[in-house]
C-alpha cells in the first residue's frame, strides 16, 4: 500500500460480499482483512451467519426458504445486528474497511445496505463471487461447510446434502449484480472473468488487484533465516557478514531438510541481496532469485553495533524502541512499518505463486509470518524466530497451518525480550 495514510483522506469503505453459499465469500473476506490489517489499514469482517447462529444454531434448509417468513425475519434481524455493529466499529474504532460477509443475493437487500452506507457517508463496494463450476462448489462444501458450526455432530454426507438444498433456496431469488452505478467487482469462476465497475479510489483499486491475484490452488511457503553469521556470534546487528562455521553447516544440511519437506514438488528459492542469505541458499538445487526487498531492516546509525552498545550510546532510543517496536524508526534507518511497506510486492507475488522458499532475516521474516498468521502489530516484532529453523506455512481454507522443522545445529539466540536490558550479557 505504500504509506497510504488515511489521515489525509478520511475514507471509510464497506465491502459488501455477494454470492450464493459455498462461493468462497468468507475466504475472500478474511483474506482482505488479513491483507489490509498487515498494511496497517483497519479492517474487520462482520459475518452475518455468526449473528444468525446466536439465535438459530442448527437450521435446516427450510429455514432459508424465501417463503418461510419466520426464517426471513430472523435472518433479516441477523443482518441488521451485523450492520449495526459494523457502523459502531467505523465510528468508535476508526475503522477504514469493513466487510459485510453475507449472501446479499437480492437487489432489494443490496439497496437497503446501500442506503444505510450512504446515510453514514461510508463508501460501498460490492464484491461478488459467482461460480457455476459444480466440482469447485462441491469441494468447497466438503472442505468447509460440513465442518461448519451449523452441522456439528452431523454426518458429513447428510450435511452436504442439506447444504445443497440450502443453496437451492437461495438460487430461487438470486439476482446477480447488474446495477451500473454501483462500485463493484465480480469474480466469475475464480477469476476466469472479472468485471470491475466504477472504482473510486486507489485503495479500492489495490483491493481489486489483490483479489485478482488470489488463487485457490494448494501450495506451501517455507521460511528460514540465514544461517548463523559472524555478526550473530558477536551480537552485532545489521552489516553484511559471512556465515559462521555453524551457519555454513546449516547451509550444508538445508537441502536435505528442504527435500524431506518439499518432496518432489517444484520450488523456487528467494533470498536477499546480503551475503549471509545467499551463502545459506548456496546448495539448494532450485531456481533462485534475489530480492532487494528481502534485505534486513536497516538499523541506520546503529548498524554494526551490539544491543549493549546501542543501549549505552542511545539509551533513549533503546527505551523508545521497546515502547513501540513496530513504529520505532532507527535514526537514519527503518522501522518495522517501513519494512512492511517494502515487502508488499513480495506478498502480492507470493499470493500469485505456488511453492516458494524464502531465506531472509529476522525482522523481514517476522513481517512475512505476521501476514500469513495474522499476528497483530504489537506482537509481531517480538516473535521468536530462531536461527537454523525451517518454518513451513500451509494456507488452508480458514487459516494457515504452521510446522517448524529444527535443524540439529546449535546457534546463538538473537532474541531479546521486551524490557530486557542488553547490558546483562547472556550466554
Amino acid at each position: 500500500m505504500g504509506g497510504y495514510s488515511f489521515q489525509v483522506e478520511n475514507v471509510q469503505i464497506c465491502v459488501i460480499m455477494v454470492g450464493l453459499p459455498a462461493r468462497g465469500k468468507s475466504l475472500i473476506a478474511q483474506k482482505i482483512v488479513r491483507y489490509l490489517t498487515w498494511l496497517s489499514i483497519r479492517a474487520k469482517c462482520f459475518n452475518v451467519g455468526n449473528y444468525r447462529r446466536l439465535e438459530t444454531a442448527h437450521p435446516t434448509a427450510e429455514f432459508f426458504d424465501v417463503n418461510n417468513s419466520e426464517g426471513e425475519r430472523l435472518r433479516k434481524m441477523a443482518a441488521e445486528a451485523a450492520i449495526r455493529d459494523m457502523f459502531r466499529w467505523f465510528d468508535e474504532d476508526l475503522g477504514v474497511v469493513g466487510i459485510l460477509d453475507a449472501t446479499n443475493t437480492t437487489k432489494s437487500r443490496r439497496n437497503w445496505i446501500l442506503e444505510l452506507c450512504r446515510k453514514r457517508n461510508v463508501e460501498p463496494m460490492f464484491v461478488e463471487s459467482w461460480c457455476d463450476d459444480e466440482d469447485l462448489i462441491m469441494q468447497n462444501i466438503m472442505d468447509v461447510k460440513t465442518t461448519s458450526p451449523d452441522y456439528i455432530g452431523q454426518d458429513p454426507e447428510k450435511a452436504a446434502l442439506d447444504f445443497r438444498n440450502r443453496i437451492r433456496n437461495y438460487e430461487k431469488v438470486y439476482e446477480t449484480i447488474s446495477e451500473r452505478d454501483l462500485t463493484y467487482v465480480k469474480l466469475i469462476n475464480v477469476g476466469s472473468q472479472v468485471i470491475i465497475n466504477r472504482i473510486q479510489s486507489y485503495l479500492e483499486s489495490r483491493i481489486v488487484y489483490y483479489l485478482m491475484n488470489l488463487h485457490i490452488k494448494p501450495r506451501c511457503i517455507w521460511l528460514s533465516r540465514h544461517g548463523e553469521s559472524a555478526f550473530n556470534l558477536t551480537g552485532k546487528i545489521g552489516g553484511d557478514s559471512d556465515l559462521s562455521a555453524r551457519g555454513r553447516e546449516y547451509a550444508r544440511q538445508l537441502p536435505q531438510l528442504v527435500k524431506l519437506s518439499v518432496g518432489n514438488r517444484p520450488l523456487t528459492v528467494w533470498t536477499s541481496t546480503l551475503k549471509r542469505t545467499q551463502q545459506t541458499a548456496k546448495y539448494l538445487p532450485y531456481r533462485q532469485l534475489t530480492w532487494k526487498a528481502l534485505d534486513e531492516l536497516d538499523a541506520g546509525q546503529c548498524d554494526g553495533l551490539t544491543y549493549e552498545e546501542i543501549e549505552n550510546r542511545y539509551p533513549e532510543d533503546f527505551a523508545a524502541r521497546d515502547e513501540n517496536k513496530y513504529e520505532y524508526r532507527y535514526p537514519g534507518g527503518e522501522s518495522y512499518r517501513d519494512v512492511v511497506v517494502r515487502l508488499e510486492p513480495i506478498i502480492m507475488e507470493l499470493e500469485r505463486q505456488e511453492n516458494i522458499m524464502i531465506v531472509t532475516h529476522q525482522a523481514v521474516l517476522r513481517c512475512i509470518y505476521a501476514y500469513f498468521m495474522n499476528v497483530p502489530q504489537d506482537q509481531s516484532p517480538w516473535m521468536e524466530v530462531p536461527l537454523h529453523t525451517l518454518i513451513k506455512l500451509e494456507p488452508k481454507a480458514y487459516g494457515t497451518e504452521v510446522t517448524r522443522i529444527k535443524a540439529d545445529i546449535p546457534a546463538v539466540s538473537t532474541y531479546r525480550e521486551k524490557g530486557q536490558s542488553a547490558k546483562i550479557k547472556s550466554k
Binding site: 500500500m1 505504500g2 470491475i196 485478482m212 530480492w291 517501513d338
Partner: protein, 554 residues
C-alpha cells in the same frame, strides 16, 4: 480533402515511408551480438513471474553478477551516437526533454525497472504477446497505447506501439493527399489496395519487432472493427507463435468523445493547420462512417479487456496470458485521461554542507528561505497558467494541488510552507532518496580513495551498479512503483519534493528515459520542473525560481 503535408512545423514530424527506412535499419554493433554467458544460462523458468526480483543466478555456483551486459565499454558510446534512422516509423527524439515513449528500442535495450533478463529477452514467461486495440476513433486508443507502452517498458517488458494511422500517413508520398474515400467503408478498389498495403507494412514491422528485435509486447493500435477481421488476425498471429490480448475502448458518453477529439486534434499530425471546429466535424464524420460496421468484442475464446468510458468499467475475460493482463488491469484502474501535472522540486539546503543519510538533518535558514520562495513561485506560476488558459477559452477549474514528500526532514520541512497555506501534504517513505550505504557523506575524492574498484564499476553502469550496502537507481525504480501508479490515478496536480535521485527516476518514467539518461538528468536547485501530460507526449517545462542560487547536489 485531407491534406497531409509532412513538412509541417512540430519537431515530431513523421518519418519517411517504410520502404526507404528499411535501408537505415539500426543494427546492433557486433560485440553485442554475443551476449555474455551469464545471460545465456538464465533460461526462463516455467510458470514463474519474477517481478521485482533481481537477476537470476545459477544456483550451484551462486555467483551474483550485478553487471548487465550493457557495461561493455564500447556499448555506451555506440548507443549515444545511435542514429535517428530506424526500421520502424517513429517520431524523432534527440533530447531527454522530449518524451521518448515513441522511440524504437534497441535489441539490447534494458528498461529502468526491469528486473531480470532472459535469453529470449521476454519476461514473465508470457512469450510474445500482441495487444490488439479495438475501438472507434476518438475513444482514446492511442492514448491507451502510449500509456501502456510507457508503463510496460518501464517494467522491463519490451514493448512497442504500432499506430496504423502513422503507416497510413507514411504511405502517402509527401505532397499528395489521401484519397477521399479512404475512410469510407465501401471504397474504390484502388483505395482498398492502398489500405491493404498500409496494413501489410504495419504487420511486417510488427513481425520484425518480434522476430528480430526480441520484442515481447507489440501494441497494434487500429480500429479492428469486425469480428471476422479479428479472427483472421488472431489466426495469423497464432501461426507465428504470438498470443493475443484484445483491449477494447468503449465510450458511450458524448462529452468524453468530444473532449478526446479536441485534444487529439491538437496533438495529432493529421490536422495541423485546420480550423478547430472543422477538424472536430471531420473527425466525427470519420467516426460515423465506421459505426454501421463496428462489432464490439464478443468472442468468448479470446483474452480481452473491455474498457468502458476511460476506466469507469473494466471487464477482463479469459486471461490466459497470465501475469500481464492483471498488471495491465491494475494500471488501467488507475489511469486517467485527464491526468494532472506533476511538479518536481528539490529539498532546501540543510544544516550539513554534505548531508548524511543517517543523520537526517533539518533545513538551514537558507533552506527555509528557499522553501518560502519555492512556494510563492509555484503558486504564482499556477495562477498565471490558469488565467492564460482562461484567456484561451478554456474555463476548466484549476486542479487542486497536493504535495508529496519523503519522510526525511529536509523534504518535509521544505513543504511546510505549503502545508501552512492549507495544501494537503503527504509523507511517503518510498520517496526517500537512494540509500548511499557505505558511501554516506563521502566526497568524490574520499569515494575514489576508499572504493576505487567500485567507482570504476559505477562509471560503467551508473544505473544498476550498487555501492556497498547502497541502492542503485534500479532498486529505486522498483521501490517507486506504487508512487507511479498512484500518480496516474490522482486527478490532482502533484508537487513532489524529494532528493534528486528520486526525481530522476520519476522523471525517467514520465519521459520514457533510457537507463543511460536517468543517472545524468539535471535538476537544478533553482528550478521547478513541470511535466504536462497529454495524449501523445508528455511535455516538460522548467520554471525558474528567482532569488535562489544554483548549487551542488544536495
Amino acid at each position: 480533402m485531407l491534406s497531409l503535408s509532412s513538412d509541417s512545423s512540430p519537431s515530431r514530424s513523421p518519418s519517411p515511408s517504410p520502404s526507404t527506412s528499411s535501408d537505415d535499419r539500426y543494427r546492433a554493433p557486433s560485440p553485442m551480438a554475443n551476449v555474455p554467458s551469464s545471460f545465456a544460462s538464465s533460461v526462463s523458468p516455467p510458470g514463474l513471474s519474477t517481478f521485482h526480483a533481481d537477476l537470476a543466478t545459477s544456483p550451484i555456483t551462486g555467483g551474483f553478477e550485478s553487471q548487465m551486459h550493457m557495461s561493455h565499454p564500447s556499448f555506451t558510446s555506440q548507443l549515444r551516437t545511435q542514429s535517428v534512422g530506424s526500421k520502424y516509423l517513429r517520431r524523432q527524439s534527440s533530447s531527454v526533454d522530449e518524451d521518448a515513449v515513441h522511440d524504437t528500442l534497441s535489441p539490447t535495450h534494458v528498461s529502468p525497472a526491469q528486473l531480470y533478463s532472459t535469453e529470449s529477452g521476454r519476461l514473465f514467461h508470457a512469450g510474445k504477446i500482441c495487444i490488439v486495440l479495438v475501438g472507434l476513433p476518438a475513444r482514446g486508443k492511442t492514448h491507451l497505447a502510449v500509456s501502456l507502452t510507457r508503463y510496460l517498458r518501464w517494467l522491463g517488458v519490451k514493448t512497442h506501439a504500432f499506430h496504423l494511422g502513422d503507416y497510413r500517413r507514411g504511405h502517402i508520398a509527401p505532397g499528395t493527399e489521401v484519397p477521399d474515400d479512404y475512410f469510407l467503408v465501401n471504397a474504390s478498389p484502388s483505395t482498398v489496395i492502398l489500405r491493404q498495403r498500409v496494413m501489410a507494412a504495419c504487420k511486417a514491422d510488427v513481425y520484425r519487432f518480434f522476430e528480430e528485435d526480441r520484442g515481447q509486447v507489440a501494441i497494434y493500435d487500429a480500429v479492428n472493427p469486425t469480428s471476422a477481421g479479428r479472427r483472421v488476425l488472431v489466426k495469423e498471429l497464432n501461426q507465428r507463435g504470438i498470443q493475443t490480448l484484445f483491449i477494447e475502448s468503449i465510450c458511450d458518453r458524448p462529452e468524453i468523445i468530444e473532449a478526446n477529439v479536441r485534444s487529439v486534434k491538437i496533438s495529432s499530425p493529421d490536422y495541423i493547420g485546420w480550423d478547430e471546429k472543422e477538424a472536430i466535424r471531420h473527425y466525427l464524420k470519420r467516426i460515423s462512417d465506421k459505426i454501421p460496421h463496428y462489432e464490439t468484442l464478443d468472442e468468448p475464446e479470446f483474452s480481452y479487456i473491455k474498457l468502458y468510458n476511460a476506466g469507469e468499467r473494466i471487464l477482463l475475460n479469459n486471461s490466459r496470458v497470465g501475469y500481464l493482463p492483471n498488471r495491465i488491469v491494475f494500471y488501467l484502474m488507475n489511469l486517467h485521461i485527464k491526468a494532472g501535472c506533476v511538479y518536481f522540486a528539490r529539498a532546501g539546503k540543510s544544516t550539513e554542507p554534505r548531508p548524511r543519510y543517517k543523520s537526517d538533518p533539518h533545513l538551514s535558514d537558507e533552506g527555509r528561505t528557499y522553501a518560502r520562495i519555492l512556494t510563492d513561485t509555484l503558486l504564482e506560476h499556477r495562477r498565471s497558467e490558469h488565467s492564460a488558459r482562461g484567456a484561451d477559452g478554456d474555463n476548466s477549474p484549476e486542479r487542486e494541488l497536493i504535495v508529496w514528500t519523503s519522510t526525511r526532514r529536509r523534504t518535509v520541512e521544505t513543504a511546510a510552507e505549503f502545508e501552512k497555506r492549507g495544501f494537503s501534504c503527504r509523507q511517503r517513505p518510498q520517496l526517500s532518496q537512494m540509500h548511499p550505504g557505505s558511501c554516506d557523506g563521502l566526497s568524490q575524492q574520499e569515494l575514489e580513495k576508499q572504493f576505487p574498484g567500485e567507482v570504476e564499476l559505477h562509471k560503467k553502469d551508473p544505473y544498476r551498479h550498487r555501492f556497498p550496502r547502497a541502492e542503485s537507481y534500479h532498486d529505486l525504480a522498483v521501490r517507486l512503483e506504487p508512487v507511479i501508479l498512484e500518480m496516474e490515478r490522482i486527478p490532482n496536480d502533484i508537487l513532489i519534493v524529494a532528493h534528486v535521485s528520486v526525481l530522476r527516476v520519476l522523471y525517467g518514467y514520465l519521459m520514457a528515459c533510457s537507463t543511460f539518461d536517468i543517472p545524468e538528468l539535471d535538476f537544478e536547485s533553482n528550478e521547478i520542473v513541470e511535466i504536462i501530460p497529454s495524449a501523445y507526449n508528455n511535455k516538460v517545462k522548467r520554471i525558474k525560481i528567482y532569488g535562489v542560487e544554483e548549487s551542488e547536489t544536495l
